[in-house]
């Protein structure tokens, strides 16, 4: 215990730093271990280009919803209705596209607006009428599911026009086309170049941040950790980018997902809105007395969740090429589980976007890996449940020990 009052900040030792951040590194290590485990046990099927593409397509909507759910959970709430919003928005987009013949360019923003309104309808009761979010969104879950059956009259609607399907099944075209794709190993240079540029930028930005921090006596993680972390992320990213470039390139959803992850990571860590949500989740009364409009903030976290659930709903519908009343059943649980595996606290105020994304991918890789292995859905559920419990126990154990 130091009681030094000087302004100079001491750099933490490697051991201290590891102890303080064991959760984040542990999560990343867990994902890598799980990936390697399934890569070995499935004889290399996991990282085949086509399977990586599938993995991304299967998990994109969970990741996208986890971004919104993390904000909700950090704010101290929960949203059980997202699975039903997915179904309703899927249904409405199908009706607008197929039955009314509206163009996709109109339908997509309209559907996102609808999702936002559904989020607002719930956020109002939570924020301004102080009804527990668990109850409000449980009601929403039932209401929106019922509405889906009503608008679809219980029957699937499809198929979708091509320009809507590309949302989910399209790829970024190879406008670079350096070599002839029919003979070359690499069939899509855009994927490879994009990934290389991104990794390069991450290195540059990370180093610049460290330099600025050092100049301002702000805390830095030990260099070893920075280097190892960057190396792991870099190698995995480049490997995946390479694999994708040998197949059809970057899926459109991967690009959408990547941009959203970057946006939400920025909002949560660097903006006043993000800071206020964390403060509100940590102590709502103190935040309110500090001049934060907690009601409005809560309201908007639900609006945001609705909009993201709408986007996810369209991606799912486009992927299945039909809207069904049963779409998205149980998705809310996968999304919530991703956040908790990623280190969010059920009592609010704690959680990171990166954690939720890694949490979603841990679930996704396990789903995918176990499916390849031929493990039935019954055992998959059982194992996923135990992983969730273990991850949260790890949190609690660390907290009590610390």
């Amino acid at each position: 215990m130091s009681t030094d009052t000087a302004t100079k900040t001491t750099q933490p030792s490697v051991g201290e730093y590891l102890k303080k951040n064991i959760r984040e590194y542990g999560l990343l290590v867990a994902l890598v271990v799980i990936m390697i485990f399934f890569q070995v046990i499935t004889n290399g099927v996991l990282f085949r280009p086509v399977n990586i593409t599938n993995l991304v397509l299967q998990n994109s909507f969970i990741v996208i919803m986890a971004l919104g759910m993390l904000l909700i959970i950090v704010a101290g709430h929960i949203d059980l209705s997202v699975g039903s919003i997915v179904a309703f928005i899927g249904a409405m987009s199908a009706i607008m596209l197929v039955k009314w013949g509206l163009p996709a360019i109109v339908v997509v923003p309209l559907a996102i607006l609808m999702g936002a309104i559904m989020g607002a309808a719930q956020g109002y009761w939570v924020a301004y009428q102080k009804i527990p979010s668990f109850i409000v969104t449980l009601a929403g879950m039932l209401v929106f599911r019922g509405m889906t059956y009503v608008v679809l009259s219980g029957r699937p609607v499809g198929p979708f026009p091509k320009e809507f399907q590309v949302l989910s099944t399209g790829f970024v075209p190879d406008f670079l086309s350096i070599t002839d794709p029919s003979t070359s190993l690499i069939k899509n240079y855009v994927a490879l170049v994009a990934v290389l540029l991104l990794v390069g930028y991450a290195f540059y930005a990370g180093l610049r941040e460290r330099r600025l921090n050092a100049a301002n006596e702000t805390e830095n993680e030990p260099f070893g950790f920075f280097a190892v972390q960057m190396a792991i992320i870099g190698v995995v990213a480049i490997f995946i980018g390479f694999q994708l470039s040998t197949y059809r390139g970057l899926p459109n959803v991967l690009v959408i997902m990547g941009l959203l992850i970057a946006l939400y990571a920025f909002v949560t860590t660097r903006t006043t809105i993000g800071r206020r949500i964390y403060a509100m989740g940590g102590n709502e009364k103190a935040a309110k007395l500090s001049g934060i409009n907690t009601e409005r903030l809560t309201f908007y976290t639900f609006v945001n969740m609705g909009a993201l659930a709408a986007l996810a709903g369209m991606i799912i519908a486009a992927r299945l090429n039909s809207a069904t009343p049963k779409a998205g059943v149980g998705f809310e649980l996968d999304v919530i589980a991703a956040c908790f595996i990623g280190g969010a606290s059920a009592s609010g105020g704690v959680g990171k976007i990166t954690g939720a994304v890694i949490g979603a991918f841990i679930m996704g890789v396990m789903n995918n890996g176990m499916s390849i292995m031929g493990i039935g859905i019954d055992y998959q559920q059982l194992i996923k449940g135990l992983v969730l419990l273990a991850a949260v126990f790890f949190d609690v154990y660390n907290k009590n020990k610390g």
Binding site: T7, R270, A287, L289
Partner: protein, 511 residues
């Protein structure tokens, strides 16, 4: 001389990296009131946790002798079994259960799991008579005040055949009247032969009731004073606690009073929950630049409610009246508007209303003025760190860095973080609600110095406090409140404990 009931010998307790207790000795005689004093962090609570078995035998060095035998407590129930009962500062009562249910919680009068309510209520009534509480056993805890809740805790202790009653800061949240009643009760128990240990920061109370005083400092025993052999002054106790003479408990200040900053006129407020009950009646007051204005009054007089209703209408409803700053009417209908108008409110409950405990010092410091460290909603990390560092050194917040979570800070340092937060909004008038509650003597002096500094910079300070000496020592002018009304305004020359109490009593007679 009566026999020794409890002796703790050479207690040493280490946490990773810190020696919390270092060879502490404590000897309590049967039938006495033994006071345990020391600054925050001196080791009082740790010592009591060792005694009660929260830290089990084996996790510390030293011996505990109770009732003539060496004892090894491995759980709290081991020590409770022998009649060692602790009443913690934060009361452990279930708000929505009745007094009777709380008293026998975990210890129900039952046969085969079926509760005998008749017996429960009869025994509760007996216990309530003993502690002098007139409410019915069926009353819910949430419907009685903190003072009465404290009595329920004591009744609960009595239900367990208590031999040694330990009270941790029992009067910290009580007003003068309730405190007196509680202390009288302790003295009455003493005549019946009960032994108690009282931990308190309120030295005047200790002086009133204690037979012996043990002083701890930095995890070690400084000395044990016997109040019957010599006359112990408060200064004598403070000297032992801080290790030096405290010349003056209140730093001197030469007031330079300027124009009127805050003026509140005819402020009428109805109760937050009992909506047809008017709680504040025509409250009017002023705070001038460079002036420290006090509000004295008993608990429930409406002081906190006055402050909170002015600060963004965060308490009460049907609020009417005028607020102006520098002579111009201002809108204080929401907290952001009140902050814009130049007001800041440092709450009396810093843990629940003041700080986001799981966030670090830096994040708490900038919370009320994030715009001050951001542009287009993007926070400038380095500017934010600089702001937090500046306040940390200016207010001398003791921590290893600005990234330390506020939950791990001592009360005094937490209060300084709350002050930092509000100073960063650059207010003209600061309302300080019980700014030194639960803070040790050294840190109190620092808070008073900060208050003086702010006044010297031309800010207006409105200070609410239940400790009259504190108001008398720091304020230029004192308003006295009672039952939702301002009943007197006293200049520094007129103000004294007697004149304040007289104003309260006289107004009480009128209604």
């Amino acid at each position: 001389m009566s026999k020794t009931l409890l002796e703790m010998r050479g207690i040493t307790k280490t946490f990773p990296g810190v020696k919390a207790l270092d060879n502490v000795n404590l000897k309590v005689r049967e039938g006495e009131i033994h006071a345990l004093v020391g600054e925050n962090g001196a080791g009082k609570s740790t010592l009591m946790k060792v005694l009660s078995g929260v830290y089990p035998a084996g996790s510390y060095e030293g011996e505990i002798h109770f009732d003539g035998q060496v004892r090894h407590f491995s759980t709290i129930s081991d020590s409770e079994h022998l009649g060692i009962i602790i009443i913690h500062q934060e009361l452990a009562l279930v708000p929505l259960l009745s007094i009777a249910e709380n008293i026998f919680l975990g210890n129900e009068v039952a046969t085969k799991g079926v509760i005998d309510w008749k017996q429960t209520f009869r025994r509760t009534q007996e216990l309530l008579d003993k502690v002098g509480l007139k409410d019915s056993p069926g009353t819910l805890i949430t419907d009685i005040g903190v003072g009465k809740q404290q009595l329920v805790e004591i009744a609960k202790a009595l239900s367990k055949k208590v031999r040694l009653l330990i009270l941790d800061e029992p009067t910290a949240s009580l007003n003068e009247k309730d405190s007196d009643a509680l202390l009288k009760l302790l003295m009455e128990f003493r005549t019946q032969g009960m032994t108690s240990i009282i931990i308190s920061h309120k030295l005047n109370e200790i002086k009133k009731v204690a037979d012996q005083i043990t002083i701890l400092r930095d995890g070690g025993t400084v000395e044990t004073l016997d109040c019957h052999h010599e006359d112990i002054s408060e200064d004598r106790i403070i000297k032992g606690m801080v290790g030096r003479e405290m010349e003056d408990r209140y730093p001197a200040r030469e007031p330079k009073i300027g124009e009127t900053l805050l003026e509140v006129k005819n402020w009428n407020v109805y109760h937050q929950h009992h909506r047809d009950r008017q709680f504040l009646h025509d409250v009017s007051f002023t705070v001038r630049a460079g002036e420290v204005v006090g509000i004295a009054g008993l608990m429930g007089a409406g002081r906190t409610e006055t402050a909170m209703s002015i600060f963004g209408k965060s308490w009460g409803h049907k609020i009417t009246g005028d607020v102006s700053m520098r002579g111009k009417p201002v809108d204080v209908s929401t907290i952001p508007k009140a902050i814009d108008a130049g007001l800041a409110y440092v709450t009396e409950d810093r843990k629940h209303l003041g700080l986001v405990l799981i966030n670090n010092i830096m994040h708490n410091t900038t919370l009320s003025n994030l715009d001050g460290v951001s542009s287009n909603m993007v926070i400038n990390d380095r500017q934010e760190a600089k702001v937090a560092s500046d306040y940390r050194s200016k207010l001398r917040i003791r921590s290893h860095s600005i990234y330390q979570e506020t939950v791990n800070l001592s009360g005094g340092n937490q209060q300084k973080v709350v002050l930092s937060k509000w100073l960063f909004t650059n207010p003209e008038v600061l309302i300080l609600d019980e700014p030194t509650r639960g803070i040790d003597v050294g840190a109190k002096f620092e808070i008073y110095s900060i208050i003086n500094q702010l006044a010297a910079e031309g800010k207006g300070i409105l200070m609410i406090s239940s400790e009259m000496p504190e108001l008398l020592g720091t304020c230029d002018r004192i308003y006295v409140m009672n039952e939702g009304r301002i009943v007197a305004e006293l200049s520094k020359a007129e103000a004294s404990q007697e004149s304040i109490m007289r104003a309260i009593m006289r107004s009480g007679e009128k209604h």
